[in-house]
């Protein structure tokens, strides 16, 4: 409500009040027009301000604030007594007790715990409940099990702990204060609109002042000069633009929300469109966030499995007997189970109890074979050793159809291989000789090199004589063989990329957007995923790759030859800002692996030093500073913590990278459409301004009144300008480079000049034609009107003679003046119809774009006509609104000009298309 156009309107309103007061003190019966206009201006400022605020508030999905997460009470032991005190009164050293359902009131070190589990998701984004105990397990406070964090929730059990940090010094407090201390830059669209306001305000103020001086020199009264000044300001300020821009942005925000991008801050809509670098998380954003079988190795051959989201059947060769055995092991040596009551859910969507790898294997076998549970029932499990990190395998023994027991085992490949003496080949057991070992090693290295988690599988049929069906297995004493087993195969698992991500990355590349992957994963895995989604393209190499290919040490490689780079968090730590800049500049494909969320902030700052508009994804509380710092922070809807969602500008509802790209497309489209909206809105400002200028200079009766101007700006023009927001892109907007922050302005001089000096002047000429016609047909020919003003406005002259010798009273002249306003208004409206049609495109012909593809344009045109008909058919005849009932033929007076506008613009676009890069193109394309 302050700043920008509002301040100009405030100035106009204040001038109005001053003019009224001066008039009133001179003459008690002074007309109320100025007072009325002042009040209207104040209302316009307040209403458009409120409207913008309402739109902003409506689409800003306030998810809640950090304060909501802060616990209220704490149970503390002081002086040997248990007391409940407000959480903020806790001090370091207090002993507090927590139980299931409580929020932890401060950072505490656990002294004693009974099955206490906490939900750290608000902090780390990890939704699994975490066990807390008094054991120190890690040096990193975020990893160790004996620390409970402020604001996290205790889910079950009880615990006693000592307060080690309170308030802002807690982990979350530090992050929150870091997040709030990170300065946020102005959004690009805010900068653009500011730039635009400067242009328009500059034009308004300079024309206003010039004509104020001219008016004074022409011996107008100062009061009159002030009133002219108000008119000039009013004509120049596009009152309806704020509303139109806000509505357009929120329409786009709505459209984006449908595509799973929930925008919290309307301006972020466009920021996304000007993004030039995306720093994306890997897990869950680029990948599906679930382990899936990627490759199998048996019969000395690697098979590829389908890893898409909705795998129905696996297509690799399944005829081998080895495969049958492997599948048997996969099925039986697995503790994961489907949750109950999911008969109608597709396999991939079923909820499974079990860890990520086992879930992947269970679903894999269910897809291939169906009814795994039935098979497990037939082969009853008689003994089991679950996986542990010490022996690195999992083992179970099952009954089989032929009365023998089957021992199945899976685990780390090298650990499994050690326990084997034979290997299965085409269903036949063969001794595990050196060549077989070598084949295993090659396959293992290859799959590991793809960044996949590899598991080995082996089995052994226990001889019936030694192990009769009554044999009792004891897992403590291991009264069964665990060596000399038969190795069957390898299965490798990966969190596969989302299937639409590679396409999205290609789109980004053609749109000139650099995608940087930032992950906590191991560099090998990170690189493999980066390659499979195309972040590192197929033919580009890292420095290490080149070194390997040329067989020279890494140091000797010319770093500029490598397009890609994989940088680990440790390396990043050692880098100076200059080195980081160098890295970001020289490599187009960058992967940051093993990075901590804190390092994201450093990466974002590095990118911003390159003048880039940076989008960053994140989910944990730790990501908040980076999300805040980024030009556009994108939080994950599923995996994201509340803190991340608060810090972000946008929430990705499906956590999918591809959604960001569709969001970018929308953002670019709205930038183009905002250009069209502004061009449309600015045009008629000249048609509103010229009447005042001619009025001052040529002394004609005023062609258009201030109230009528408001009716154009806030009446007939609003809906058509919003309708332009629905315009489709003219060409593939994802094939051009991101807009350069400083070069590609929203409002450039071409746009301003074309709108002001071409179409705007054309419209003024059309308007004046209607105005002169309206006067001429009533008896005042154009030559008489020149310099008629002093007589025209004189209240005491009630017999002013017209060109035909008739005499007019003052009131009759007023009535004619309002007819002139109405005629001018209708003429501008008719030409604005042509204007909205030509603004549909900036380079293509209207016919290429299609006249009817955007139906809202027609709604807009209909609204223009309806509003004008209502105003000029009697409803606007209230004296203060200064409209009169207009003859039908006035509606057609400006039609030739509307046609000229359209033809001229088609001509302009034709020349631009024909002669790209020419003088015409440079000066006429906005």
């Amino acid at each position: 409500m302050v700043g920008g156009f509002s301040s100009l309107l405030w100035a106009g309103a204040i001038l109005c009040f001053i003019a009224y007061v001066i008039e009133f003190t001179k003459d008690n019966s002074a007309s109320m027009d100025n007072l009325f206009l002042g009040i209207v201006l104040v209302l316009v400022v307040i209403l458009t301000g409120m409207f913008a605020y309402y739109q902003e508030a409506k689409s800003t999905n306030i998810i809640g604030s950090i304060s909501k997460m802060i616990p209220r009470k704490a149970l503390v032991i002081r002086d040997g007594e248990k007391k409940e005190i407000p959480a903020e009164e806790l001090v370091v050293g207090d002993i507090v007790e927590i139980k299931g359902g409580d929020q932890i009131p401060a950072d505490i070190r656990i002294l004693d715990s009974q099955g206490c589990k906490v939900d750290n998701s608000s902090l780390t984004g990890e939704s699994e409940p975490q066990l807390r105990s008094c054991h120190f397990t890690h040096e990193n406070p975020l990893e160790t099990k004996n620390i409970g964090f402020y604001s996290t929730t205790c889910l079950e059990g009880t615990a006693t702990g000592m307060v080690i940090n309170t308030g802002d010094r807690t982990i979350i407090g530090r992050i929150a204060s870091l997040a709030s201390s990170v300065g946020q830059e102005k959004t690009p669209i805010a900068i653009e609109i500011e730039h635009f306001v400067h242009i328009v305000a500059g034009v308004a103020v300079s024309i206003g002042i010039v004509f104020f001086i001219i008016a004074i020199c022409m011996k107008y009264r100062v009061l009159d000069a002030v009133i002219f000044l108000i008119g000039i300001i009013l004509a120049n300020v596009p009152e309806g633009l704020v509303a139109a821009v806000t509505v357009s942005l929120s329409l786009t925000a709505k459209r984006m929300a449908k595509k799973n991008c929930l925008v919290k801050n309307l301006e972020a809509v466009e920021t996304l469109g000007s993004t030039s670098i995306i720093c994306s998380d890997k897990t869950g954003t680029l990948t599906q966030n679930r382990m899936t079988v990627a490759h199998l190795w048996f019969d000395n051959q690697i098979y590829r499995a389908d890893t898409s989201e909705d795998q129905k059947a696996q297509s690799f060769d399944q005829s081998s007997a080895t495969w049958a055995s492997l599948l048997n092991i996969v099925t039986l040596c697995n503790r994961a189970e489907f949750g109950a009551g999911q008969e109608n859910v597709s396999i991939m969507k079923k909820i499974v109890m079990g860890d990520a790898s086992e879930t992947a294997l269970l679903k894999f076998s269910e897809v291939i074979m169906g009814d795994v549970i039935e098979r497990r029932k037939r082969n009853k499990k008689v003994a089991e050793i679950p996986f542990n990190s010490l022996n690195k395998f999992q083992l179970s023994i099952h009954e089989t159809d032929d009365k023998r027991f089957l021992l199945v085992m899976k685990g780390a490949p090298e650990a499994i291989l050690e326990k084997c003496s034979t290997i299965m080949f085409n269903g036949q057991e063969q001794p595990l000789d050196e060549s077989a070992r070598e084949a295993f090693q090659t396959a293992y290295m290859l799959l590991g090199g793809l960044g996949e988690r590899v598991l080995g599988f082996c089995h052994l049929y226990l001889p019936e004589d030694e192990f009769p069906d009554t044999y009792s297995f004891d897992t403590e004493t291991m009264n069964f063989p665990t060596s000399d087993l038969c190795f069957v195969g390898l299965i490798s698992l990966i969190d596969p990329p989302r299937s639409n991500v590679p396409d999205a990355i290609i789109k980004c590349r053609s749109a000139g957007i650099k995608v940087i992957m930032v992950t906590g994963d191991h560099p090998i895995t990170a690189k493999a995923i980066a390659r499979s989604v195309g972040i590192i393209s197929a033919n580009s190499e890292t420095v290490e790759d080149i070194a390997k290919r040329l067989k020279i040490p890494v140091e000797q490689v010319n770093k500029r030859e490598a397009k890609a780079a994989v940088v680990s968090g440790m390396e990043l730590k050692e880098m100076s800002p200059e080195q980081l800049d160098e890295l970001l500049k020289n490599h187009s494909e960058i992967v940051f692996a093993r990075t901590s969320p804190q390092q994201k902030l450093i990466i974002v700052e590095g990118c911003q030093r390159q003048d880039a508009v940076v989008a960053v994804t994140g989910d944990g509380v730790n990501d908040s500073p980076a999300l805040k710092k980024a030009n556009i922070g994108i939080a994950m809807g599923f995996a994201g913590s509340d803190a991340a969602k608060i810090a972000a500008d946008m929430v990705l509802l499906d956590d999918n990278f591809a959604s960001i790209v569709t969001g970018i497309e929308e953002g670019r489209l709205i930038f183009d459409n905002l250009k069209k909206i502004i061009a449309f809105t600015l045009t008629k400002n000249i048609a509103e301004l010229c009447p005042f200028l001619i009025f001052i200079i040529a002394g004609v009766p005023l062609p258009i009144g201030t109230i009528v101007i408001l009716f154009i700006d806030l009446g007939t023009d609003i809906i058509p300008s919003i309708a332009l927001a629905y315009e489709k892109a003219e060409s593939d907007i994802m094939n051009r480079k991101p807009r350069h922050k400083k070069k590609d302005r929203l409002v450039n001089h071409q746009l301003a000049l074309y709108s002001y000096l071409h179409i705007g002047i054309l419209q003024s000429v059309g308007g004046f034609f209607a105005y002169f016609t309206a006067y001429a047909v009533q008896g005042f020919r154009p030559d008489l009107l020149l310099y008629l003003r002093p007589l025209w406005v004189d209240d005491t002259i009630n017999d002013l003679e017209d060109s035909y010798g008739q005499e007019w009273t003052k009131y009759q002249r007023n009535h004619l003046e309002w007819t002139g306003y109405t005629a001018y208004f209708v003429a501008v409206m008719v030409q604005q119809i042509a204007d909205v049609i030509i603004r549909k495109t900036r380079i293509n012909s209207i016919f290429q774009q299609g006249l009817f593809r955007n139906k809202y344009i027609w709604v807009g045109i209909a609204s223009q006509i309806i509003i004008a008909v209502i105003l000029s058919s009697g409803f606007g005849s209230v004296p203060i609104l200064s409209f009169t009932t207009l003859r039908v033929q006035y509606w057609f007076v400006a039609v030739p000009y509307a046609i000229v506008i359209w033809l001229y613009d088609e001509f302009r676009k034709l020349l631009i298309r024909r002669y790209p890069g020419s003088w015409w193109d440079k000066n006429m394309y906005y």
Partner: protein
């Protein structure tokens, strides 16, 4: 912006903007570009001016030289074909309608204003403290008042009396209709004079005059205080 340019101080930037010797650009454009711009605007605005002039010319062609196309804003004349008496002799009390291209005007004799004619008293009674006020009706082309129009004046103060000339403020119908400035060159609209006589002791007169006796001449318009009526004040100064 290249690095070298960045080093320039802002003043140099300005100077370069106004005239850049390297590219010989003035205000960011070469002379050729400026020339093209100038040429373009000359052609464009020339075309606009021609278009405007042409359309104005066409519009003005549609207008009659004698009467405006519309007169709805100044009166609502009713044209009745039955009223067709024609008298080129300017017969009193009858409309003087003419069909020929150039219309004759009736003579308005000042004599009927008697003491307010100014023929004998060039001060129009102002010297004696009983001033004459001349009243007239605005000219409207084609207007034919119905009935017997007259200008009636009333004064609020009791000690002031009014005399109108001609008698009863009569407006003679022979002065209607009016055919417009071009055709009806020597037309003179009828005048009515009002003499305000102050009796001793009175110094002020609030007077209202209205056109009466004619159903189609309005004198009660709410918004237009000067349509068919006028109110004014005469103050006697010593």
């Amino acid at each position: 912006m290249s690095k070298e340019e960045k080093k320039l101080n802002p003043e140099d930037n300005w100077r370069n903007f106004i005239y850049n010797p390297l590219t010989s650009e003035v205000l960011g454009r070469t002379a050729e570009s400026w020339g093209l711009i100038f040429l373009f605007y000359v052609v464009f605005y020339g075309f606009l001016a021609a278009l405007f002039t042409f359309m104005m010319w066409v519009m003005l062609q549609t207008l009659s030289d004698e009467t405006p196309k519309y007169q709805d804003l100044i009166a609502s004349p009713e044209y009745e074909d039955s009223m067709q008496e024609k008298n080129i002799e300017c017969e009193s009390g009858i409309f003087f309608e003419q069909k020929s291209r150039s219309k004759l005007a009736c003579k308005f004799s000042l004599k009927i204003l008697q003491v307010c004619s100014g023929l004998n008293d060039s001060s129009y009674g102002f010297d004696e403290g009983s001033p004459c006020v001349i009243l007239k009706m605005n000219r409207i082309i084609g207007l034919k008042p119905e009935g017997n129009p007259s200008i009636q004046c009333h004064v609020k103060e009791e000690r002031v009396n009014l005399v109108t000339f001609p008698d009863a403020g009569k407006i003679d119908l022979m002065y209607f209709p009016y055919y417009g400035k071009k055709a009806h060159k020597n037309y003179l609209q009828p005048l009515v004079a009002l003499k305000v006589n102050f009796q001793p002791g009175s110094e002020e007169a609030s007077i209202e005059c209205k056109v009466e006796g004619s159903p189609n001449l309005k004198n009660q318009d709410e918004r237009d205080k000067f349509l068919g009526r006028i109110a004014f004040k005469v103050t006697l100064a010593h």
